[in-house]
């Protein structure tokens, strides 16, 4: 079963994208630029979600596009261009996390004590934000990003893969080289932690 892809940024109509890829492969920089400009926000959002550092996210996103350009000859026509690009940026971001000094990234299922202690499930309570206002609300955005930052790297990765990019459990398991059970467990705890952090932030905000 494949996941439901994020709908926020639809890809090109396939023949148009195919032509741009072919033109870029033939050495047309304008064609490659069009691909970059179309996908850059989505790529950057994924990198930022995982790395949580705007500069690192920018570097990783640019590196992903450069790798794509250099390997255009190996791009198989039967795959979606963005799927290919996405895998590259996600792998680079995860590698980057692993290399980050002082940031111990262990992509196993060990939960931090704070995550393991709470036996509760998904909170059956909405945060009560107005979706129409959410885009304009810088404070809310900051709270969300701050909560995301507090998650462990493996939890952040699954959350971004699923919630932002809509990958299926199988796709996530393939990318992270772990079992579907591990993906489900990480996702469950990531969501629970995220909800808890956001409720906490909202309560503090309301009390202030």
């Amino acid at each position: 079963m494949r996941g439901e892809r994020a709908k926020g940024d639809l890809g090109f109509v396939e023949p148009a994208e195919r032509k741009l890829v072919d033109d870029a492969r033939s050495g047309d920089p304008a064609a490659f630029r069009a691909l970059v400009e179309h996908y850059q926000r989505r790529v950057y959002a994924v990198a930022l979600g995982v790395l949580h550092d705007p500069d690192e996210a920018r570097d990783v996103s640019q590196e992903a596009f450069i790798r794509v350009y250099r390997n255009l000859d190996s791009f198989q026509g039967d795959a979606q261009f963005f799927t290919w690009l996405y895998r590259i940026v996600m792998n680079l971001a995860i590698d980057h996390l692993r290399k980050r000094r002082g940031d111990r990234i262990e992509f196993d299922d060990t939960l931090a004590p704070s995550e393991a202690a709470d036996p509760g499930g998904i909170v059956p309570r909405r945060l009560g934000f107005d979706p129409g206002r959410a885009l304009l609300d810088k404070e809310l955005r900051a709270q969300l990003l701050e909560a995301l930052k507090k998650l462990s790297a493996p939890h952040r990765a699954v959350l971004i893969m699923r919630e932002v990019e809509g990958l299926s459990y199988q796709e996530m398991a393939d990318d992270l080289k772990c079992s579907i059970g591990t993906v489900m467990s990480r996702l469950f705890h990531a969501r629970k932690k995220m909800q808890s952090l956001l409720h906490e932030a909202r309560n503090i905000d309301t009390a202030a």
Partner: protein, 156 residues
């Protein structure tokens, strides 16, 4: 344990990971609290997407990419490297030709009494565009059946 199992099932339902049959069965058993949990999950998904996409708004990566793109792709680099190697190969061949010619000249000069006999084998061959002649000479200096082979290479 049962509660945890149910929570994971709720997550599978929310993520669209159930078969249509599983989905229909699960839907029929959904409690009102579980429906609220699903709403809460949907809200968080929407907020997270919006927040990250809003952060990415206005990002421009092209400037950092353009310089690298101008360096070309490995396929182009390979072609350049091949061309460079060809150039280097021609230069090396030219040098080798000059050395061989000089050696042959010295040999012939020093062995002025030696001339190619009628029995010499002569073969021509071409290496990467250069032309070479192989001369098999009777070595009269050492007498007997001794022969000396000279490779005379010339550039185009």
């Amino acid at each position: 344990m049962e509660s945890m199992k149910r929570e994971l099932e709720l997550q599978r339902y929310f993520d669209g990971e159930m078969t249509p049959e599983e989905r229909a069965r699960f839907e029929a058993e959904l409690t009102s609290e579980e429906r609220q949990s699903l709403d809460a999950l949907g809200e968080m998904r929407g907020l997270l997407r919006d927040a990250l996409h809003a952060q990415a708004e206005g990002v421009n990566l092209w400037q950092g990419i353009e310089g690298e793109i101008q360096k070309g792709r490995p396929a182009d680099d390979l072609a350049k490297a091949r061309a460079k190697r060809r150039g280097l190969g021609t230069r090396m061949l030219g040098l080798a030709t000059a050395v061989a010619a000089a050696a042959a000249f010295v040999f012939i000069f020093q062995s002025s009494r030696i001339t190619p006999s009628n029995e010499c084998d002569i073969e021509n061959f071409e290496v990467e565009g250069a032309f070479a002649t192989v001369l098999k000479l009777a070595d009269t200096q050492h007498g007997g059946d001794a022969t000396t082979t000279v490779v005379w290479a010339q550039e185009d």
